[in-house]
């Protein structure tokens, strides 16, 4: 028997479209999901996501030892397209399977779109006040603006990715024609605390005016980390001023340069919204006598750029969807001054509704496939019984 040599492309196609690869990907995802779930107990959700699900490889001492979630899902996507659409026999009996594959593909793509193109954050509003931006729970930004009486001051914003890679000892300088100084950022710490320099602890980075950063271990829940970095400005006459920028500081760093005053602040990254939201009333209902929350509700007013107002009720399981944003009732509280506030999770996700659509597609496909097989099974059973009865007679 002569063995026919396959081309490299054909071999690659066979492998990429094989059931074998599909099974390997599913098994790898299964293992990752188990370990990623257990990992959360001690290290928190965000760390588990980073290590297991949003990574291409799991690494041990920098060496890849297992495929990560992103790699598995990417390969599964390719396998699905090649095996589930190209290699599969396009016959009427496979219509259901094809539909299921379409749904799963949409689901996987919606996940990719979400990872690549979404913004997530929160919006905390005190009753009667309004806001037109939401802020990140994880990422920071450094904002610089000139302080003057007019309210429309232009802000210069340095985003998270521009300074979070700066380890202690590394620095980066930022300049702008509109600013009469250059700003140098250095030594970003993911979680730290500002303390007076003392003999009992080691300062991370450069101390400033007797204060320095104490590096703290990462929090289990990443949103509780408070970042910090060293900042210095150099004016045109060579004067240098230094400060510590810390995510939890109450007031921005104010500097005077050439008779003008500037503020520099490290704060959670802000995302503008196409409208403002005013919190009119927050309502919390409890089940009688047991102190368990029954419902959280926020009566809000949406105010567009023209000043038009539209009232909305945002409550658990009933978010506000508008302008590409979705606002969810997330939390609530009372300020030290006794004012109630409401916290909304805010998401900008282009693939917001895609999973729901995919769910109906997948379900329809599965009903078609399994329904067909069930009918065929019932017919076979019936036929077998008739044959057995005939043989007995």
């Amino acid at each position: 028997m002569v063995k026919k040599n396959k081309s490299l492309g054909r071999m690659a196609f066979d492998v990429l479209s094989s059931f074998w690869l599909c099974c390997v990907c599913l098994l790898a995802l299964f293992v990752l999901t188990i370990y990623g779930t257990i990992h959360q107990v001690d290290h928190g959700l965000y760390d588990a996501k980073d290590v297991y699900f949003h990574s291409y490889f799991l690494k041990w001492n920098g060496i890849p030892i297992f495929p990560g979630g992103l790699l598995c899902m990417s390969v599964l996507c390719i396998n699905l397209v090649l095996g589930g659409f190209v290699r599969i026999k396009w016959a009427s009996r496979n219509v259901g399977v094809l539909i299921v594959h379409v749904g799963i593909l949409v689901l996987l793509i919606s996940g990719m779109v979400k990872i690549q193109n979404s913004d997530e954050g929160h919006l905390q509003i005190i009753e009667t006040l309004s806001k037109d931006y939401f802020q990140s729970s994880l990422d920071w930004e450094v904002a610089i603006w000139e302080v003057h009486d007019v309210d429309d001051a232009q802000e210069f914003v340095i985003q998270d990715a521009s300074f979070t890679d700066l380890e202690v000892g590394a620095s980066r300088t930022f300049t702008s024609d509109s600013l009469p100084f250059e700003l140098t950022l250095s030594g970003f710490l993911k979680n730290c605390q500002v303390l007076p320099v003392g003999p009992n602890w080691q300062v991370s980075g450069n101390p400033v005016e007797g204060y320095g950063f104490l590096r703290r271990p990462d929090e289990k829940e990443s949103e509780f980390n408070i970042g910090g970095l060293n900042a210095s400005i150099k004016t045109s006459d060579g004067t240098i001023q230094e400060a510590l920028l810390w995510g939890n500081q109450r007031h921005p760093w104010a500097i005077a340069v050439d008779g003008r005053t500037f503020a520099i602040d490290m704060r959670p990254e802000r995302y503008p919204m196409p409208y403002s939201i005013r919190l009119d009333d927050f309502i919390k209902e409890e089940h009688p006598g047991i102190g368990m929350a029954k419902a959280y509700r926020s009566k809000v007013t949406q105010i567009d750029a023209q000043g038009n107002e539209r009232p909305h009720l945002i409550q658990m399981n009933e978010p506000l969807r508008d302008g590409g944003l979705v606002l969810f009732q997330s939390s609530y509280g009372t300020t030290p001054g006794g004012h109630e506030y409401s916290v909304f999770s805010v998401v900008r996700n282009p693939s917001d509704k895609w999973p729901e659509y995919s769910m109906w597609v997948i379900t329809f496909g599965m009903l078609l496939t399994f329904g067909r097989r069930l009918i065929s099974f019932i017919r076979t059973q019936s036929k077998r019984r008739h044959m057995a009865a005939g043989a007995a007679q």
Binding site: W20, C23, G36, T37, G289, I290
Partner: protein
Amino acid sequence: MNQQRSFLPVIASLFAPLLLSVAGFAQQEPTNRVFEWESDTVELFQTLPVQSYARVKPMDSLAGLNLLIMNGKRTLKLEDGSKLKPSQWLLDTMFFPEQAKDYPCFRVQSDDVLIAVDLTPKGKRDWYSYNELAPGLAKVMEEARRVADLDDNARTTVDLQLLKLANDTIAYHYLVTAMDLMRLSFDVSGNQTLTEMFGTESPKLATILAHVPELQNLRVARGTSDADTDAANQLVQEIGRSLPSSNAHLTFMAPAAGSEQEDLWWTFADTVVARFGGQQDVTAQVAIFAAFSELEASKGDAATFHAALEKLHGLSVALASSRGEYDMIAEEVSLYKLDPFYYSLVFYALAFLLCAVTWMASKQRWIWGVAWVFVGIGFILDTYGITMRCLIRHRPPVVTLYDTIIFITTAMVLVGGLMEWITKQRIALPVAALLGCAGMFFAGKYELREVATAGDTMASVVAVLDTNYYLAIHVTTISLGYAGGLLASSMAHVWVIGKLFGLGKGKSQFFKSLTRMTYGVICFSLLFSIFGTIMGGVWANDSWGRFWGWDPKENGALLICLWLLLMLHARLGGYVREHGFMMLTIVGGVVVSASWWGVNMLDTGLHSYGRIDGAWLALMTFWTIEGGVIALSVLHRFLTGWSGSNKPQPPAAAAS
């Protein structure tokens, strides 16, 4: 009671009887019941409405749930061998507390608990009366305070049982002192005006409440003597001192219109306070208060007690009905009276036994028919129970973990029955009967735990779960997915047992049918698991703003989907055949158990509603047994050879 089962806020209330003896004085009443409870009296009492754990329920449910927590059963066996039903026990506890305190209604699971509080154990896991425990109660409370301060992981089994005993005795205290206010009399013999006003020198609280306007006038009106004003003020102060400080007492009446918390029912003390406050119309509440007082006063005679109870029943029902809170009370009493889940267990057990008989006497077709009928009755009972629970709560079938057990069990019986109806191989029906039996047994055991932690098996839900749409679709379909996975796993066990013990020898269809059925059930499970999992993501997208968050519960559901997909693709690819597929199916059962129970125990993530202390051991045992079954099957396969039709075949060339 209208509070979570926590002992700390209410310890002070244990000393309430002391306060009562200072403020008013209790008149001599009959302490022991001298008549048998008539069935119509008990029926009236059963259907009295009471609010407990945020839900208006019949008195019978209150009694049954409390007895279940303390006693481990809904009925109480007395030392003379007689049995009390829940409502009979509660009647005695409320109206004849001194007699009830001798009833052995506290089950203590460990002797070490009693030794720790300087009491002498009677026997292993024995029952004790309140009076038997009384000498050690101060120590119980002291120990419970210590345990409450400990971290969850630092608590030993004895610590947890001590805490439970403390909670149980406090709950019992509220029941046994429920009518204390009704027994109080206030001495007004020193003042003629008050004596004439109340018509007696020692009026009960109900009598005083009927004259509150006159009493208040006396306190402020001009023209009356200082002695009258002083006596009236003193009386009101005495009443104030006699009211219990805790608000955890039984809430027997709906609040008056315009109350601060319109959903929260009132205790007797609330009624007294509202009556003296004079801000609301409390006519209905005062009438119910008076009816309770009359009931207490008439407890020496069965006929007068029944008449007083009829009057109270009419008033209570009218008030609750006016708020639409009495609709399902009778149905709830019927549900507990019928006890459908217990009897379905019995029918499933009988059906399984009959199936076993048919294996030995296969020609007796009528036995098989009876087995079918018994499974049918069991299924109807379960369906009735689930439907009634839905109607009572106005919720879909699956809300709590207890619901998942009964729903999944019922679904397994249904699917198993359908498989049997289609295949007629006499395989799926016994499997369904056995699973029904095991599931309902487990449900009975778990009910006790759920009641002990949540106070009710129809407990209120947290805000995020307060959506019938998603509860109905997501939770129900996920549960159906679990049911499919477990049913398939059970069939795989039958396959393994058949191979190990040669059960199907000579019947070529036996193993083939089992494999086909298992495959079918796996497809069923996959359909509902995938739909339910994605639907859960859609719900999460509406609740928390993200479709998928890698939360442990979500991951649990994903694990099932991934495993089922892996099984089907491995089968399609030819990497596993009959034996391999069955082994994977057994692993699938392990994955379902991990998703259903295991991830709850990680105590992390947004779905941490279902944490159960001590369930790890049970899960680990289950997983170890399943590992053993797989190992045994593989070993058997190895010893009997990998030859014949089960030899793995090369992968199929294309997907089908």
